[in-house]
Symmetry: D2
Subunit: 277 residues, 4 copies
């Protein structure tokens, strides 16, 4: 088998090598970062530091311990994350599926890496705002109008990212969490509209993805129900969509590669938008 | 600003939509998975299960706590991971850089996501083996011969993945860790050869990337020194390169998006090879 | 209220000050210590080291992060730790009591610190052995004979510690875990006998307290059922009773102060035997 | 050796059995409890719940994972916790002692369990206050006057507990942490006075033990230096001394049994005061 030449080249690779730009749609992880209080905080320590152990040849190493909830920072929700009346996507019993402490059905290990068409629906741009106000419900009219203004048609299998501009509050932890003010996003109607387009996944630049009323916290999350439980559409949260908007990208190659955490209800991710240089 | 049409389309997106295949080069995470004993073990639990809290509308959720070392499973090493005689890449003092418990210089947050040309040097294929034997040093001759046999020239900025076939042992934890048997891989010479090609990063299908002698453990890691400390070339470990080999891909679009863990010495990753369908 | 003299002295304090000896019945915690594989491993790191932050006056500090299962090392089981046919002590539904992820009923926070009479039933001493053999069932006859030989009557409210001598294997991790060999201890009959004495708690020098057959693991734990579920008697495991035996103490003042972990199924402890000097 | 009767009885045990009261001087552990932000937060989850695994005989179990800093909740500081100008107690280099990530010299494993005379210096009682005001420095005059008012002489080897009354703020997390208001406690002078009495350990009902000026945080901790670094006297923090005060106990048998965490800078504890019924 030594002579078999391996496959070479491709139009894809040619374009990549000609020059593409990679836009980072994720957030950095640091202790104290904004996150939902419902999830274990992100912690990072160095169990081993240089000098703790020095090899005979003078080499040494440092390493890390990280500990956090999978719904902290930029992350993707698995279908098993949410249940409605005790049922998961596909009608399976949530109580049964979680026996043993992991979801073999509906866990994030069932979500393969995605490389597909990504679409940005830029709601502030539509309205001429810097950002949507707190507790602003992004309506079906908003979504349709944004698509129309951007001359974009959403196709089956696409990943649709909805920009509210909320990412601008990232450096003010409590403001970004938005418990008191409420947070902009779609609600049930917007979720139904998106689901009807047979998309692969959705994403937004807020912690909870959907509209949160002032002071209401996460008491009702109808978009999660419609998307995860009823339609099997994954949700990506805490994205940073500002650069996509600033640079006018409404359509791009979207890449997300969830960690293959068997049985988990989500995974941290660092999604990318690939555009030509 | 409501009228500005966002940028549409691109040759890249056309090819993606025409159809590409996404090959997963990473490993799943599960408690008990093979890993170096030098790093905190991967643990996963469900702090919250469906039913712990039920919303007024009948919705509920489950979430996760994950805790592990960044050098567990498929991962990428930051430059600050290794020191030589107390110095990091760039000549900086390791003792100084680690003050405060994180590496603002040389941490993984300094490694941007990569989308570039990937090259597979398939060593077992070269020799007509199923896999390299334990404690087999992959020499410069092996690397050059593999590239020649595959009619591939390594270019600056490429990511070079070296297959030993060791991934076939994944289901036998102690065998994959290979403490007793030693593990195949390049050593100092191979690392120098790779560094001279000005590549961006390297990867392999073993835990420690480089050659480990029988029973020697991690007592000497010269390739880590050459690559990380002397040449600023990141190392990706515990990859699964079997499918790339089986399907004859010697060249592909390589994608890796490390989590942006500020100050960490590494990050879990799920690298991808993109090829045309 | 400035003049009220606070209470002084006591016969108890006089004896303490005259001189008592404090025997440590617990085990040290270190990474890699013997423990049941069913529980999260003990890990310890220094998130902060001296020098990470230095105060203006030249002071600095180091601190720790510890992470482990509550049933690791010397520990006490809460009543909620074990269920039988879905029921906890008192007939409560285990499924109901664990909603929310902690046991407000039956958790270790319900176990107050104990200072009471402690009795050692020294089984190897009874038989003239260094230690009980593996997979040796300590019978009711053994317990009665040990008490008789030690001229001890067990009283209501006592804490009864059963020595098998298994503690001598502590330095051999797999031997102490005893999965292959089985482990000595009482079984159902011994538990029923102890329960009939209306004691407060029991303890032993093995991980699982009760008799484990060769290769059987923790597949059946009848003594746990009898003690925790049926009789509300707490179990202390992984004790070190060798010094008590060597120094001939069959009766002593027993002290154990569980951490007040609200809703937990157990707590690490460092029990003491107080004897006169 | 079967005939050797084990030692029986003792005056100590007689008093214990006649009836003593055990006062709990510790605090419960729950997620969200007040703690210094400088330390890893207390987290508790149930990795295993009843029903995850059911034995053939119908038995099942739940267990815990706890993760926290050793200086969270009621805890005792080891001598290695604090350094001054790079030195630990005994003049040892902090940088050297922490190599390897644990303190074999000065770690909490070197602090044996204590059963000795305990003395309460009740400062609010002295002044006729409910509690000391925030940022109140408890002076040597206060300490001497409290001892005099209570007709107590501190003896060598005693454990001295200083009540400020700050424990009354426990249910208001930010108030108890006291960052904005400052916190009452002794400072350098008080520490020197205590050290001159050759006591074994000190304790208080605040997080940081010593006086904190308004808004100053932990920027200067001279009492820690005097006690830990210069005199080898351990410090116990976050105690609850209210019951001792309410019930007029100025002197008692004090018990504290730190977990034997090898190399750690501290340990959670649940200290006790034993008094006669």
């Amino acid at each position: 088998m030594t002579d078999v030449a391996l496959t070479h080249g491709s139009a894809l690779l040619e374009i990549v090598q000609r020059g593409i730009r990679v836009l980072d749609l994720g957030r950095p992880y640091q202790q104290g970062m904004p996150q939902s209080p419902n999830h274990p905080a992100y912690t990072h320590t160095l169990p081993r530091r240089h000098g703790d152990m020095v090899r005979s040849d003078g080499g040494s190493a440092a390493n890390d311990l990280i500990s956090f909830g999978t719904h902290v920072g930029t992350h993707i929700d698995a279908l098993a994350h949410v249940s409605q009346d005790g049922k998961l996507y596909g009608g399976h019993s949530a109580a049964d599926e979680q026996v043993g402490g992991r979801f073999m059905r509906g866990g994030i290990h069932e979500v393969p890496p995605m490389v597909c068409r990504g679409v940005l629906l830029d709601i502030p741009r539509l309205h001429g705002w810097a950002a949507c106000p707190p507790a602003y419900e992004i309506t079906v009219t908003d979504l349709e109008a944004a698509a129309a203004a951007q001359k974009i048609a959403i196709g089956a299998g696409d990943v649709v990212l909805i920009r509210s501009g909320w990412a601008q509050r990232w450096d003010d932890r409590e403001a970004y969490i938005g418990a008191a003010t409420g947070v902009p996003g779609i609600s049930e109607a917007g979720a139904l509209w998106l689901a009807s387009q047979k998309i692969r996944a959705v994403g937004a630049d807020t912690i909870a993805f959907e509209y949160l009323a002032e002071g209401a916290g996460h008491s009702r999350l109808p978009a999660h129900r419609v998307l995860l439980v009823e339609n099997g559409i994954n949700i990506i949260e805490t994205m940073n969509l500002e650069q996509l908007s600033e640079e006018n990208y409404g359509e791009f190659t979207f890449v997300v590669s969830p960690l293959n955490l068997v049985g988990a209800t989500g995974s941290p991710v660092r999604p990318l938008a690939l555009v030509e240089a």
